[in-house]
Symmetry: C2
Subunit: 389 residues, 2 copies
């Protein structure tokens, strides 16, 4: 996210998630990712996420640190009616102001209960308290209002941890407030370039200085099970501005990486895998694929079945190593993979024009070796398909 360094108007954001069930690992936190995506898309630079246990002093310090280092803070959780819901107390103490009972909020919360023929438990009155000078954020789906508080140069929004309530309150109140703060509807867009066939540091070397901090557009690189993902990020007034700003960088990447690039896609969607590309190439050509895998229910078979739902391009899965002859007559292409996972594994691709093979070196952690071999086999086939197009 280079904008912070090159444009003073970019706001730094922090997400705070609150609860022992998160800090102890009992529950996986997905709220933080949801908020981080939306803050990023609103053009903010999300530099920190903090998760903190249900401990008042720790919460106070976390809110103070966030208010000092971020312009926008969105917190989730800790707004319920029970004794371990401490967000309101922490926000007040962090700002050095008292908690004030809001009679309108109290009446509203009580009306929710009475409209359902219920008596409000006295604990729920805690939800009618706000730090002095803070504003409530309406919660159409529950009793816990959010809190909108300004501390120095920082705007803090506290939302409930219930995802559906958090989503609605983000859309109705927080997103418009952030747009008003930035004074524009600035957007940030990501474009992913998916690569296979070289290691992370080799790819970085091929790209020269493209992966440099502070560059605009920013190019990030990550590796997962030998698949390399380049992530290009640009901000602008519109989507079109973002993609126009990326275009020269993307052209440079394509030129430098050539056939290492197997797919491109916008950020935020499910990432495209090599097997999906291979199935699509076969489908375009109206051709079929057989797989000879010595492992029962091998990875290749699973992956191809998941991509080839209609069974148009494959379905010939054989586990007999001597079956390549038999299969050759049934399918246009054949991938043969051995089961052994010691040192290196030979993979072979039989095509209408002949056959190619490669010894795959087993690098990285043993738990990814099967995936590594399967991906190399798919990539070998992909390169053959591209030659014959």
């Amino acid at each position: 996210m280079p904008a912070s360094e090159t444009a003073e108007r970019t706001l730094v954001a922090e997400v705070i998630a609150i609860g022992d069930e998160l800090t102890t690992g009992q529950r996986l936190d997905t709220n933080t990712q949801w908020l981080a995506q939306r803050l990023t898309d609103a053009g903010l630079l999300v530099r920190y996420h903090t998760t903190v246990a249900d401990d008042l002093q720790a919460n106070i310090e976390v809110f103070q640190a966030a208010a000092a280092r971020a312009n926008v803070v969105v917190a989730t959780g800790g707004l319920g009616p029970t004794a371990d819901d401490l967000t309101r107390d922490a926000m007040a103490a962090a700002a050095g102001v008292p908690l004030i009972n809001d009679p309108d909020l109290a009446a509203h919360i009580e009306s929710i209960f009475t409209s359902r023929g219920r008596v409000m438990p006295p604990q729920n009155l805690r939800q009618a308290q706000l730090p002095e000078h803070a504003r409530p954020i309406p919660n159409p789906g529950g009793t816990a209002p959010g809190v909108d508080q300004t501390v120095g140069g920082c705007r803090l929004f506290a939302l409930p941890g219930v995802p559906a309530e958090m989503h609605d309150m983000w859309a109705a109140t927080v997103a418009p407030a952030i747009t008003a703060m930035t004074g524009r509807t600035r957007v940030t867009r990501h474009w992913l370039v998916k690569c296979f066939g070289a290691g992370e540091s080799t790819v970085e070397g091929m790209l020269g200085g493209l992966i440099a901090r502070g560059r605009e557009p920013l190019v990030g690189i990550t590796a997962s099970q030998a698949t390399i993902t380049l992530r290009v990020t640009a901000s602008g007034e519109t989507d079109a501005d973002c993609y126009a700003a990326m275009a020269p960088t993307l052209d440079e990447i394509r030129t430098k990486l050539g056939e290492l690039v197997y797919a491109e896609q916008p950020g935020g969607e499910e990432e495209i895998e090599l097997h999906q590309v291979v199935v699509e190439l076969l489908r375009e050509r109206g051709q079929t694929l057989g797989v000879s895998e010595e492992e029962p229910q091998g990875l290749l078979a699973q992956w191809l079945a998941s991509a080839d739902v209609g069974g148009e391009v494959g379905g010939v899965i054989v586990t007999d190593a001597s079956a390549s002859g038999a299969t050759g007559s049934l399918a246009d292409y054949l991938i043969a993979v051995k089961a052994g996972l010691d040192g290196s594994v030979p993979v072979a691709v039989q095509t209408p024009a002949g056959s190619v093979s490669k010894d795959i070196l087993l690098i990285g952690h043993p738990s990814i070796h099967r995936a590594l071999v399967a991906k190399h086999a798919l990539n070998l086939l992909r390169l053959e398909l591209l030659k014959q197009s």
Copy 2:
């Protein structure tokens, strides 16, 4: 986590995750949860998680803050060979020491490449650098060694972000080091009491002072789609010590909540849902269930099918509201649920002894209303099954 307040020996822990792909929300962070579970189970109090972007100054400040507020820090990510892998640099700068090239590490990393017939890209030498006085953590599955550094009263462990490598290095090096620090194999165990039929603040009120900060064992309360989970936490030398310490508290909870409790289970496992309990009660009794749901593919049908894999207790799913007579002859029990979701919804359970019904008030966010109705219907049946046992 009351131990911090009542026993001085409890170590406070923090997990740090590093990477733009996490702070922007591009990727969901599961490493932090994995580490938090293990630190908690090792008897440490995980009070903070921090996620930070690939920004050197921000990383330095995050490591400094963690070293000041925690006794044990485990970081994940940022140890790769590329320019945006900043963990080594940040740890050195945070401690005010230089990064030193470790010739043994350099030789080891180069040998990994040469043993595979490859030339080491020069960038990989970055992975042979360590903050002065820090110790490397061996990485049997990859080229990136970890870092074990002591700063003041804090022990920092930095591990790669690749999950398989992180898991192995935790088990081989970090877990034994933490056991040596605590001087004992102290464990923390959790027990969950799953409840349905009353709101969160009502349940808290019924439990009197049980949900109080600093109590030992600690009782936490969370609500998700009207299911209330109580989480009891105790620490001790052994599992048996933990469960013995919880027993009086659990007895008190059972007495105070009675039939609101539908299941109990150890922490860390997939949580038991109401429909699983209902299917199990029917299976024990050799009885069957019909469901009349006005919605096609209603939630009840889905849930029951997922729990009743063999189809022994159900399978009669009808969507005709007038089918209760017809179904009554096919199954021992019938649940009938209307499709309307406005204000309140009547649910009915027909049993061999007669029939019961209840109007379900639609509280909370509209997106959970279907689940709320389905759960109330299941709970009505559960209470009938308990009466007839």
